[in-house]
Amino acid sequence: MKKYINTGNKDTRSGFGAALTELGRTNPKVVALCADLTGSLKMDEFAKENPERFFQCGIAEANMIGAAAGLALSGYIPFAGSFANFLTSRVYDQVRQSICYSNNNVKLAASHAGITLGEDGATHQTMEDIGLMRMLPEMVVINPCDYNQTKAATIAAANYFGPVYLRFGRPSVPNFTPENQKLEIGKAIKLSEGLDVTIIATGHLVWEAIQAALVLEAEGFSVELLNIHTIKPLDEKAILKSVSKTGALVCAEEHLIAGGMGEAVSGFLARVKPTPMEFIAVNDKFGQSGKPAELMEAYGLDRVHIISAVKKVCSRKCK
């Protein structure tokens, strides 16, 4: 298996911040809005360099979504930032009507997604957001895996016309994808070739899946690993090609099973190629306070659980 080297832990939100700063310097159409979380979202440099293009919206997310829509229909490219929870469930109807139904070119910059938000607990952790956003017609959903990829995804989102939900996180995590990569929306990235099983991972789970694959390969499993940064539109071609070869699949994500990437993949495969499958995701419960790593372990979202899931799905395939 190809080696992936962690060049140093970084938070994915900082990848967003770096890209936004870059966009501020290169694209005069880019504007930003934030609901009293400028530091958390790493939007402060953009705000400092472009005060006339930055709109502090206060703790009033619904109005922020509407204002972003108005800026977008007037020709700007707004990035509206808050915690993932407050950009999805809190303002679902605003996102639905003011952005998606009006096909407004708004980018939702959703930080602190998933359970790795950690200590704040379930009020601030969302594991429903991918499901909510992928249900909306017109919406593109991107969940990059590390700092470099989040930066690339932010640039790609700015260059794409239409609503985009860009999901990233709070904790520092391994940074292992190429610096200054180009991200192609809707195109899966194959991280390793294999014959026995396909692992599809997204977001923070991609690094865990790489570590799991290394252990599994040492035990004799031939693992094919796909990084699905774009959950909608799903790279159906890449998924079908891979499972046609391996015949078994594990999907891994920091989200509920309901509505998640795994469910999107299973919905597709049920129609074209039913495949034995296991889900690394949370089954119908809220999170709680704790450190990110201990929460990932407790909720079954780490490499250990991926390894077990692979063994289980491979045994199902044999039957």
Binding site: V31, E52, R53, F55, Q56, C57, G58, A60, A62, N63, M64, I65, G66, A67, A68, A69, G70, L71, A72, L73, S74, G75, Y76, P78, D93, Q94, R96, Q97, S98, Y101, S102, N103, N104
Partner: protein, 282 residues
């Protein structure tokens, strides 16, 4: 003929269109459409700088209007048609399958004159603020107009927008409220009392103007004043005092016709009270 007489003629035809559209569709919202007809007619035929020939969704080099209370679509569509945005005959397709005239305004089917889809209440004022901020960024001196309902003002987002517009000094925005005191379940006092709307908007830091929304002199005076104080650091709200169902005796002053279509007989009865001035659509 005085300008007001022309406006009266147009608004009379708009009222006939409203009644005929909701009767034809067997659904729709005549009550609020009739209460907002006069000041919307004055807006489109006297005040606003929009040219149907040059209109763009992005509002480039022109004023923009956002209908937040999307259920007032019958009045809005009729006015847009008579202004020349699309053929008046298209009003006959209102709410029918495949029509560009969706139940609530939608950009999906590309109807000219619509900047933003609306219908789920409370959202349009925020969108108008975004468009007004965009005009400031572009150094475009034109004005953004928005219409909300008084019942709609029960939505929390309206007051988020109210605070935000003041904070960002959105002084190129002239918002309007159709203050007809009625909503679906009863009067605003019965459903959720709004208190003194004038004091509320003033307290939020807006320049607030109150006018009689059925008197073209009062309407004109309000717009003139609004345009005069535009650009002085504060957003502007015109509260148009109106009557729900105005112009049709059995629809006037009651919530009962908020979202109900008349029967064919009731339609005839209503039309007998409103003069046909510009010709009914086919």
């Amino acid at each position: 003929m005085s300008k007001n007489n022309i406006l009266e003629q147009i608004s009379s035809q708009v009222r006939r269109d409203i009644i005929r559209m909701v009767t034809n569709a067997k659904s729709g919202h005549p009550g609020g459409s009739l209460s907002s007809t006069d000041f919307l007619t004055a807006l489109y035929f006297k005040e606003i700088n929009v040219d149907p020939e040059k209109w763009k969704r992005n509002g480039e080099n022109s004023d923009m209007f956002f209908l937040s209370a999307g259920h007032l679509s019958p009045a809005f569509y009729s006015i847009l048609a008579h202004k020349g945005f699309f053929p008046v005959s298209e009003l006959s397709t209102f709410r029918l399958f495949g029509s560009r005239l969706q139940g609530h305004p939608s950009i999906e089917k590309g109807l000219p004159g619509i900047h933003q889809s609306s219908g789920s209440l409370g959202q349009g004022l925020s969108v108008a603020i975004g468009a007004a901020l965009a005009k400031k960024l572009k150094k475009d001196p034109n004005t953004v107009y928005a219409l909300i309902g008084d019942g709609e003002s029960e939505e929390g987002q309206i007051w988020e927008a109210a605070a935000s517009a003041v904070h960002h000094k959105v002084d190129n925005l002239i918002a309007m409220t159709d203050w007809n005191n009625q909503q679906i379940d009863g009067t605003t006092e019965q459903v959720q009392s709004l208190g003194n709307l004038e004091e509320k908007w003033n307290a939020f830091g807006w320049e607030c103007i109150v006018a009689n929304g059925h008197d073209f002199d009062s309407i004109s005076e309000a717009f003139t004043k609004a345009k005069k104080i535009k650009g002085q650091g504060k957003p502007i709200m015109i509260l148009f005092k109106t009557e729900m169902g105005h112009g049709v005796d059995f629809m006037a002053g009651t919530c009962k016709w908020h979202g109900k279509n008349p029967s064919v007989e009731q339609c005839e009865q209503a039309l007998s009270q409103i003069e046909e001035t510009l010709g009914d659509f086919d």
